[in-house]
């Protein structure tokens, strides 16, 4: 019994991080209808960013998140202007393609730089234990950080002008231009924010699990699941979705072979999609 509780708690902690990982994707997707296939690569980039700052300069991994996210924002702008801007508003597949191309480049550079062998950020904060079960400090901190970032972002989108402008542009670009909103710049910033959060998420994950250049892919997949649970372009939803996902994983593990978890997870995912075509926590339809 205690075991079930423990693994559910574990699930929630990890889930929060899944959620954070997905926010970047869902934001960009919801706002500019771009399925950003560089997401995974950039999560990985965040991981290695933190790794380098930590093992290279001995910077505290959690502090390292700040420069990493900042760099992520700039990289985001760069990717937007170079690869995304020209294909926006074209058939959705175009952006799919261009981001896939950028992804190939990033992965290629990554593999030639770090090969595909695993790395890890070697810190372990004192955890808390529950009977024989232990929750590492890293998990606790990561979960808190995730919640904080997600909360901040959704406030930003609902309240601030830029936030609303982002939604306006996503809803009707031409009209936005006519109303004096510099659409392109707004989109670029939105993209930058999305990437910044993706890299930050990567950085947090790096403090939990070892990673390779390719690790991002797995989290990208989970991000898709979370996106659906949470609804497109809805950060708070994404966080909730992530936690739910973690909870489900944690909840079922004690009762089935762990190798069946993915089956449950994705079957459930498709089921939910059919039941709630706009996502479980969707606020605005699509």
């Amino acid at each position: 019994m205690l075991g079930v509780l423990a693994s559910m708690l574990d699930g929630v902690l990890v889930g929060a991080v899944y959620g954070l990982g997905a926010i970047g994707l869902t934001l960009i997707w919801g706002v500019m209808d771009v399925i950003n296939l560089t997401h995974g690569a950039l999560i990985a980039m965040g991981m290695f960013g933190v790794y380098l700052l930590f093992s290279g300069l001995g910077l505290n991994p959690y502090l390292a998140l700040v420069p990493v996210a900042a760099a992520g924002f700039l990289i985001g702008l760069a990717i937007y202007w170079s690869a995304v801007h020209r294909v926006i508003g074209r058939p959705p597949l175009m952006s799919l393609l261009s981001t896939f191309a950028v992804n190939m480049v990033l992965i290629g550079l990554g593999t030639s730089g770090f090969s595909t062998s695993p790395y890890n950020v070697d810190i372990s904060l004192p955890g808390i234990s529950l009977g024989a079960y232990t929750f590492t400090g890293n998990h606790l901190v990561a979960a808190l950080a995730a919640v904080a970032i997600a909360g901040g972002l959704s406030l930003f989108l609902q309240r601030t002008r830029l936030g609303k402008a982002i939604r306006a542009v996503s809803s009707n670009r031409k009209a936005a231009e006519l109303m004096g909103i510099p659409a392109a710049r707004v989109l670029a910033q939105a993209f930058g924010i999305g990437i910044a959060i993706a890299t930050a998420a990567g950085g947090l994950i790096a403090t939990l699990f070892p990673f390779t250049v390719l690790s991002g892919g797995g989290y990208e997949l989970k991000s898709f699941v979370v996106t659906v649970l949470g609804g497109l372009g809805n950060p708070a939803g994404a966080l909730a979705g992530g936690i739910l996902l973690g909870l489900i994983e944690g909840g079922v593990t004690p009762f089935i072979q762990v190798s069946w978890i993915p089956v449950i997870e994705f079957a459930l995912f498709v089921g939910i999609l059919l039941a709630f075509p706009n996502g479980l926590f969707a606020r605005r339809g699509h």
């Binding site: 950028v102 290629g108 659906v228 089956v263 994705f266 699509h286």
Partner: protein, 322 residues
């Protein structure tokens, strides 16, 4: 059958003939291997085109057809000792049936959500098969050498499989052309442009979508059987490789979605190109980077894919190269 009177029909036929004749005439197995993979890619991209290019539904799960087909086929061959061709065809039908049953519900989802669901299906299937003991779970199915013996030894077997694969490719090309020229195709295009409006105009959208999706599954499934039969082993990681799914989409876009020529050309060039980078001593370590960069350039400066560009440059070709 006024298709026969179209020049494009004969262009396709010529290309298929080249595929079928070049390797045996030159006795060049290297060429055969490369064309074999090209054929596989053309089959994947070409059938995907029915759903993405014609109907406007982005299916990331297209690899499931290929993988399931492979598993069903090898299972039938190894366990029931069925001859390859029979197994392949049965696999095709079985996959079609499953698709019709399952996907018609998925197809109720629109745009991005459909894309997501298709990813979900791909992953679920993969995870399921890696746990499914009758199919060897993670170990997969190994093909006993005997299976080749039945076809006169490996050497002959591989040639036979190659010709079969070319046949499936031919079927793919003719099918996509026939569909494009048909009333059915017109309905699909209408759905792609605006599903609501199409419905109001009388297009039975649910049936048409399901039919398109089902059609797009049959030939990849057959190809799957052939491909993994040739490999002699099938394992989940290889059978349901999401990257290949995405690459198929890439090929389609590269060539120009919605056009038969585009799908085929995109697939062919992509295969050749990746293959070349992989073996070229200078590039091999940077092959991904280069492939990516070139792809990006094409996307940005040839939005309509290769065919889009060709049509713009020589509008008259629009009539000839479908």
């Amino acid at each position: 059958m006024e298709m026969i009177r179209q020049p494009f029909f004969w262009i396709m036929t010529a290309v298929i003939a080249l595929f079928a004749l070049l390797p045996p005439l030159t006795h060049d197995v290297g060429l055969r291997e490369s064309l074999f993979l090209a054929a596989v890619y053309i089959i994947l991209a070409g059938n995907l085109n029915l759903l993405i290019g014609y109907t406007g539904y982005v299916n990331f799960g297209n690899i499931v057809f290929f993988g399931l087909g492979g598993y069903l086929g090898l299972w039938l061959v190894t366990v029931f000792r069925l001859p390859l061709v029979v197994a392949a065809l049965l696999a095709g039908l079985a996959v079609a049936a499953m698709t019709a049953a399952l996907w018609c519900r998925i197809l109720r989802l629109r745009g991005a959500y459909f894309a997501l669901a298709s990813i979900g299906i791909a992953e679920a299937t993969k995870a399921f098969v890696s746990n499914f003991e009758p199919w060897g779970g993670a170990t997969g199915l190994y093909l006993p050498m005997g299976a080749f013996k039945a076809m006169g030894g490996p050497r002959e077997a591989l040639w036979t499989v190659y010709f079969l694969m070319v046949a499936v490719m031919a079927a793919t090309l003719y099918l996509s052309y026939a569909v494009k020229k048909s009333k059915f195709g017109l309905g699909l295009f209408a759905i792609r442009e605006d599903e609501e409006a199409a419905g109001v105009l009388g297009v039975r959208t649910p049936y048409y979508k399901t039919l398109a999706c089902t059609l797009s599954g049959v030939l990849p499934a057959v190809a799957g059987t052939l491909f993994f039969f040739k490999n002699g082993v099938i394992q989940p990681e290889q059978a349901f490789d999401l990257t290949l799914s995405t690459e198929a989409i890439v090929m389609l876009m590269l060539g120009g979605q919605g056009t038969v020529t585009g799908a085929a050309l995109g697939a062919f060039l992509y295969e050749q190109f990746r293959g070349y980078l992989l073996i070229s001593p200078t590039f091999s370590s940077f092959q991904l980077v280069i492939a990516g960069a070139l792809l990006l350039v094409t996307v940005l400066f040839m939005p309509g894919g290769l065919m889009g560009w060709v049509y713009q440059r020589w509008p008259r070709l629009r009539r000839i190269l479908e």
